[in-house]
C-alpha cells in the first residue's frame, strides 16, 4: 500500500533559481518551454500527466477523435529539457510569506511561482444542475459524454414508452459560446450523416438539439456579423437556438427554464461558463469575478514573485487594449506564458520586465462542414468555407506533437470523405455517482 506520508517530491536541490509552475495547460506549458535551463530549475505540478488541446475536446465527446489525438504526455513534451521536473500531484496551496508551495506530499520552496491552474466549470451555485448536468471541461467529461450520447440512442431503440424515448432524443446544450456552438453543430452533423444509418429503427425527425444562451446572440465575444452567420448555420443544421434564455433547474430528467418552459431530456450539456481554479493562499482581496487580479507583468496583486496566467488571471486595466482583461481562450494563456518566461529571464539579470500586451490573432468558431466563422485582425471577418478551412488549419497548426497532427489530420480527411465518426464506442465505467440511470444500466448489463 502506498502511504502518502511515505511520499516526497524528490526535487533535487539547486543553486539556480527555482520556478514552480502549477498546471501544464497552455499557460504553464509555454512558461516552461521558454525558460532557459541555465538560469532556472523548472518544477511542474499537474493532476494530469498530459497537456491537452482543449479546443478540440468537443470532438472527443462527439466520437470524432480519441483522447490521444488531442493530448500529449507532459513528460514527453519536456524530454529534452534539462533540469525540468514533473510531478503528478495536487497542489493544496501556497505560503507566499515562506515562499513555499504546499502539495499533498510535502512542501517545496520556490524563487518564482507561476499559478496556471486554468478554469473549471461554473454552475453559478446551482447545485441541482451541477449534480445532473454533463460538463465538458476535462478528458473524462468528454469520454463520459461520448458514452452518454451513444447510450441514449441505444436505449431509445429499446424503450416502448414514447415519453422516455423523446427524453432520450432531446439534447440540451447550455451556453452559446464556442464550446456550446461547436457541440450543438457537431451533434447536428451526427444526426445528419451518422445516426440514421446506425439506428434505422429510430425516427430522427423526433431528435431535438437545443442550444440555450442567456444573452441575445450566440458567440457573444465575437463580431455581431459572425454571431449572425453562426446562428444561420445552426438553423440550417436544425439546431433550436433559444436566446435570452436561462436554465432554472434540472433533475436529470426535465430541464426547467427560467421562462417556465420545460424540456424532458436525459442529457443536459453544460457549457455556460467557467470560473478560475483558485488555490489556497491567494489573498481574497486579489480575487475578483472568480479570477486572480494581476498587474501587467501577470504578478498577483499583493504578492511578490507569484504570478498568475491564462484563464485564472484577470489583468484588470493592465492591458490598454483590454481594460477588462483577456478572453479565456488559448492565445492569451500562450502569450502570457511566453512573456512571463522572458520576464523571469529579465528578473534574474536584474533587468526591467516588459509589460504584457495581448496580440489578438482572432477568434474562430466552427459549426459544421464548410460552416464556420472567423474574426481576424484588421477587422477582417470570414465565414463559410474560408473560415472553415482557416479553422482546420489553425487547429492542426497549434496542436502539439507531430503524431497528433498526423492522427487528427488523417481522421479529419477520413471523416470528410466518408462522413463517418470513427470512435462511436461506449466504453464505461466513465459515469458519475449521480447518473443513476447509467449506473443501473451498467450494473444490470454487467458492464462494470
Amino acid at each position: 500500500m502506498l502511504e502518502f506520508d511515505k511520499l516526497s517530491l524528490n526535487i533535487p536541490a539547486t543553486t539556480k533559481k527555482r520556478v514552480v509552475i502549477i498546471g501544464g495547460g497552455f499557460g504553464g506549458l509555454n512558461v516552461a518551454l521558454n525558460l532557459d535551463s541555465r538560469d532556472f530549475q523548472v518544477v511542474m505540478f499537474d493532476k494530469q500527466n498530459y497537456h491537452a488541446f482543449w479546443p478540440l475536446l468537443y470532438q472527443v465527446a462527439t466520437a470524432g477523435l480519441e483522447p490521444d489525438s488531442i493530448a500529449e504526455p507532459l513528460r514527453k513534451v519536456f524530454t529534452d529539457q534539462d533540469d525540468f521536473h514533473f510531478r503528478l500531484v495536487r497542489v493544496t496551496g501556497v505560503d507566499s510569506a515562506a515562499k513555499t508551495v504546499k502539495t499533498l506530499i510535502g512542501d517545496l520552496s520556490y524563487d518564482y511561482l507561476v499559478v496556471a491552474t486554468g478554469s473549471k466549470s461554473n454552475f453559478f451555485g446551482n447545485a441541482q444542475v451541477q449534480k445532473y448536468a454533463f460538463p465538458l471541461k476535462q478528458m473524462t467529461d468528454a469520454l463520459n459524454l461520448r458514452s452518454q450520447l451513444l447510450q441514449c440512442f441505444e436505449q431509445a431503440s429499446i424503450t416502448k414508452d414514447p415519453e422516455i424515448r423523446q427524453s432520450l432524443l432531446n439534447f440540451v446544450i447550455v451556453g452559446g459560446g464556442p464550446t456550446g456552438v461547436e457541440m450543438a453543430g457537431s451533434i447536428a452533423e451526427m444526426r445528419k450523416h451518422v445516426l440514421p444509418n446506425d439506428y434505422p429503427g429510430l425516427d430522427f425527425s423526433k431528435m431535438n438539439i437545443y442550444l440555450v444562451e442567456g444573452l441575445d446572440r450566440v458567440l457573444p465575444p465575437m463580431d455581431p456579423e459572425s454571431s449572425k452567420a453562426a446562428h444561420t448555420y445552426l438553423d440550417e443544421l436544425g439546431v433550436e437556438v433559444k436566446l435570452k434564455t436561462l436554465v432554472d433547474t434540472y433533475d436529470g430528467q426535465t430541464v426547467i427554464l427560467k421562462s417556465g418552459e420545460q424540456i424532458r431530456s436525459q442529457t443536459l450539456i453544460w457549457a455556460a461558463g467557467v470560473t478560475g481554479a483558485l488555490i489556497d493562499g491567494i489573498p481574497a482581496e486579489s480575487v475578483e469575478r472568480g479570477r486572480v487580479l494581476v498587474d501587467q507583468f501577470n504578478q498577483i496583486q499583493g504578492l511578490t514573485d507569484v504570478f498568475a496566467i491564462g484563464d485564472l488571471a484577470y489583468m484588470k486595466g493592465g492591458d490598454p487594449d483590454f481594460p477588462n482583461g483577456h478572453p479565456g481562450v488559448a492565445q492569451p494563456a500562450i502569450q502570457q506564458g511566453e512573456r512571463l518566461a522572458k520576464n523571469l529571464g529579465q528578473l534574474v539579470r536584474n533587468r526591467e520586465m516588459e509589460p504584457f500586451r495581448y496580440f489578438n490573432k482572432g477568434n474562430l468558431a466552427i459549426v459544421g462542414r464548410n460552416r464556420a466563422v472567423a474574426d481576424l485582425p484588421r477587422n477582417l471577418h470570414l465565414k463559410g468555407f474560408l473560415a472553415w478551412a482557416t479553422w482546420l488549419f489553425v487547429h492542426i497548426f497549434y496542436l502539439i506533437g507531430f503524431r497528433n497532427k498526423l492522427v487528427v489530420l488523417s481522421n479529419w480527411i477520413y471523416r470528410f470523405f466518408t462522413y463517418q465518426r470513427g470512435t462511436r464506442l461506449i466504453i464505461r465505467p466513465f459515469v458519475r455517482k449521480e447518473d443513476v440511470q447509467a449506473q443501473e444500466f451498467l450494473v444490470k448489463n454487467e458492464m462494470v
Copy 2:
C-alpha cells in the same frame, strides 16, 4: 428515469427464419456477415456496442494504441445489411424448449440460436488473485492497466521508501501464452526506449519484469522451436521468465509463488487462462472443462437449433485433426462462424449441413521489434524479422475497418521510427473498487 420494465427489444416480426446471435466477437460477427438477408432476419445481442480485435488489446494496455484503433462499432459494421438488428443488452439465458432467448428486457423467440459469448478470465477459483490482479480481457481492462503502469512510475518518482519504490517497479505477468509473452515484451520495450526518457529520476536497472508460466516452456501451444526462440527474445529484452511456476496468492502488494518465493509488486497482470462465458439454459451435461460440447456442426449437445462457436465451443472428437477441440484464438471462431452461416443456409433449404473442419493458418506471437515467432502450415517455422513482418501484415490484414487499418498502420510506422508510444495518458476513473491505492491516489488528487 429509464425503468427497465418500460423497455422492450422492439424486434419487428418476420416471416423469415430468425437467427439470434449472442455476441459480436470474431464468431458472431462472421455468422451475421455471411447470412443471406433474403433467408434470415438476424438479431445480435452484445453488452458492448463494438467489435474488438482482441489480439491487439495488449497494445492498448501498453500505450501503443487507442481503443478506436482496434474496435469497430457493430452498428457501423452492419450498416448496409438488411433486416439486421443490434441490441445493446445482456442475455440472461436461453429456454431451448420454448425456443426463446431471455434478456434483461424481455424474451425473443428464435428459429436458430448462435451462442458466441466467447471466454472470460479464469482465476481457477483463486478469489484473492481475482480481487487484486489486473486482467487483460476487455477494453476497460486495457485502459485500466495503461493508467496503472504509468501511475506506478509516477508514484515511484515520489516515494522515499525504497521497498515501495521497488514494488512499484516490479511487474509480474502470469501466463506464458501469447498474451503474457506479448505483454512482457511490450513492457520490456517501453523500459528500453520510452521510460528512461520520461523518468530521468528513476533507476530502471531496478525495474523487473517477471513472466510466470506453469508449464515447462513459454507459448506452450506453439512449436518447441518457436517457444525456444521466444524465450531467447524475452531473455534479450531482460524479461525474467519463471517456468514450471505457479502463483499461490496475491494481496495487492506481494505475489507469493507456490515455490514459496515472494515478489513485492503493485501490478500483477493475469493472462493465465480463460474459461467459456456460459449462459443459463445450457444443460450441465453439455459443459466440459468450462466450455460447451458441440458436434461437428457446432450444434450444442442435447439441444436442437442451438449452436455454440468460438472460444465457448468445445468440439470434442468432432474434428479429426483436432480431437481435443480447437485453440481459443480468432481463426477457429471466424471459420466456425463462416461455416455455420453456410450450414444455416443449407438447413432452410433442407439440405445437408457440412461438418466443420478447421484449417490452421498458423500461430503467431510477437515479443518485440524484429522479434517474433510464427508456426505456419506445412510445418514451416519463422522467427526474427520475417516472423515479425508476417505478424504485422497479418494483424493489419485481419483488422476490421479501413480507418482502423490506417490509424494502426500510421501509429506503427510512427513508433517504428521514433520508438515512441503515443498514448501514455493516465485517464481515470478506470479503477476497480479493490484497488484501494489507486482510489486513494485519485481521490486525494481530485482526479475523480
